[in-house]
């Protein structure tokens, strides 16, 4: 009897291990495949020429494969989305966690969850039909499809992740800290910003990094509003991100162009791994602190 139970336990543990390894295997497979497919083009084009070249003309008679415009566009686009999204998300989180009356809180939280669930194509569609003409009329530019449109769409897309994780972090601050602060005579607002927020800062940093991860990996929504011309980024210019560069050319590419696209994917993958490592670092500090 006892032996049977023990073998059963070991068997189930084995099944768990195998299932867990499935995920690890997938990640390993993707990493290895990307590295193997991405390195040849970098080698042939030259690493400096590839990463720092400013012209991308993959189908021209004399092709050039410089991806600096894409790297800078992705960086600026994500930075812009963070600059707009984090203050709004952060303030909303403070409001939801500390100030909001319960009914308002439930209503707002459902709205945020709904926003989180909207697929990126819908964001892109609404952006294309409403935001792009809006930018054109408001700023008197010839065409609204630009970096600005992409930044606004990305900011709205990362709001839900920032809000949700920040709310969790703020609610996890021990009540004793806030009670002590209030007892010492601080006003509620002073307490929130000088006690609760610093106590939750690791969680809030994790929220921001999560938002960055989503913004840098977004392809569909951004493809419909940003214009897709391979220019160096500027706010009202038509731009192309790392993600859209791969998405728009992959289906018909061949030869060196296709390998170059894999190299772009590798660069993107490295960015995202960097962001994940940062997230991991912040989460670990959150657990200890």
């Amino acid at each position: 009897m006892k032996g049977n139970k023990k073998t059963f336990e070991t068997a189930v543990h084995g099944v768990f291990l195998i299932l867990g390894l499935v995920t690890v295997c997938c990640v390993l497979l993707i990493t290895v495949y990307l590295i193997i497919s991405g390195i040849p083009a970098m080698h042939e084009i030259g690493l400096i020429e590839f990463l720092f070249g400013t012209t991308w003309a993959s189908t021209a008679a004399e092709p050039s494969y410089g991806i600096l415009p894409f790297i800078l566009t992705s960086v600026y686009g994500t930075a812009g989305a963070i600059v707009i999204g984090v203050p709004i998300g952060f303030m909303t989180a403070v409001y939801l966690a500390k100030v909001a009356p319960p009914k308002v809180k439930t209503l707002m939280e459902s709205a945020v969850s709904l926003l989180a669930g909207i697929p990126s194509v819908v964001y892109g569609l609404v952006g294309m039909l409403v935001l792009v003409p809006g930018i054109r009329k408001m700023f008197h530019v010839p065409d609204g499809a630009s970096l600005l449109a992409a930044i606004i769409v990305l900011a709205i897309m990362i709001l839900p992740s920032i809000i949700k994780v920040s709310v969790t972090a703020l609610e996890a601050v021990p009540k004793e800290y806030e009670d002590a602060s209030l007892a010492l005579g601080a006003t509620p607002v002073e307490t929130y910003f000088k006690v609760s927020v610093p106590a939750a800062k690791s969680g809030i940093a994790a929220a921001v990094v999560l938002g960055v991860g989503r913004a840098i990996g977004e392809a569909m929504a951004v493809m419909m509003v940003s214009g897709n011309a391979a220019n160096m980024p500027s706010l009202f210019q038509s731009v192309r991100f790392l993600t859209t560069a791969v998405a728009s050319e992959m289906s018909y590419s061949g030869g060196l162009q296709r390998e170059a696209l894999f190299s772009i994917a590798l660069v993107l993958f490295l960015f995202i791994m960097l962001i994940n490592a940062t997230l991991h670092f912040f989460l670990k500090r959150n657990k200890e602190g």
């Binding site: 039909l129 010839p142 011309a229 050319e249």
Partner: protein
């Protein structure tokens, strides 16, 4: 109560999933992939074929000419659709082209734009960035917004080769389908773009080129110069499946010419 209801719903959904099974393949499938310009034409042909042959399933995947040519090369579809002729490398790879129809590439502007005629040289200068303001060609005082297609597009290839602007076009936006170009031009009063004549609707205005209005007859007699062939791409030496071959013979026959004309292109047969 809740348990019973949820079990019932699961049961109904599971059965519904099986509903798709019976319909399968008593007549075979024919899959086409490629040019978005050919959507109306191939859609009309597919529909009429399916109406006459009840058991055949016809599918069309709008991915762009370049992508369609790749798809047939890799065996992912039966017939590739391209809105340009095959290049020499593509023919060397073992692909064969059959011209289905001829289609004009309409130069489209917003209906609110006062300009209605441009010469081929003016169009080329606009797209290479030599002319940047509508007022230089008789329109309003506004910057011209250039809308074009992605690099693998058959329409772009046709347009650039006829206007002589290969690798020199300065696009503001590079969109991935004919429909996108039409939508974008219809929303921006200063935009100019190019799209398949067969797909142009009332939401945009098609310019006349050098005084010639784009229409089926001017494409047919060649007076409307910006035109290109709609081409069916197949693999040399590999036979199509029976269903696909029948469909192929149907659409290249004289009976299908009426449907092709109704869809806005000029039948080759």
């Amino acid at each position: 109560m809740k348990k019973i209801i949820s079990l019932l719903i699961i049961g109904v959904m599971a059965v519904a999933m099986l509903a798709g099974c019976g319909v399968k393949n008593s007549g075979g499938t024919v899959s086409t992939d490629g040019s978005t310009s050919m959507e109306k034409v191939i859609g009309a042909l597919g529909e009429s074929y399916m109406a006459e042959n009840k058991n055949v399933i016809f599918t069309y995947n709008p991915t762009g000419s370049g992508s369609g040519i790749k798809a047939v090369l890799e065996g992912r579809c039966d017939i590739g659709l391209s809105s340009r002729s095959l290049k020499d490398e593509e023919k060397a790879n073992g692909l064969k082209e059959t011209v289905l129809a001829y289609d004009g590439i309409a130069i489209i502007v917003n209906p609110a734009n006062p300009v209605s005629d441009l010469s081929l040289e003016q169009i080329a200068s606009i797209y290479t960035g030599d002319i940047t303001n509508w007022k230089d060609i008789g329109g309003n005082d506004a910057k011209i917004v250039l809308i074009g297609r992605e690099a693998g597009s058959g329409t772009r290839d046709g347009f650039e080769s006829i206007t002589g602007t290969e690798d020199a076009c300065k696009y503001r936006q590079e969109l991935t389908s004919t429909g996108d170009v039409i939508t974008t031009v219809s929303q921006n009063p200063d935009a100019i773009g190019y799209a398949s004549l067969a797909s142009v609707k009332d939401s945009v205005k098609a310019l006349s080129v050098g005084g010639v209005n784009p229409s089926e007859s001017t494409v047919k007699d060649g007076s409307y110069v910006i035109q290109r062939p709609f081409v069916l791409v197949t693999k040399e030496g590999t036979a199509l499946s029976e269903t696909a071959q029948k469909f192929f013979d149907y659409i290249t026959s004289a009976d299908a010419a009426g449907i092709i004309s109704a869809a806005g292109a000029v039948a080759a047969n």
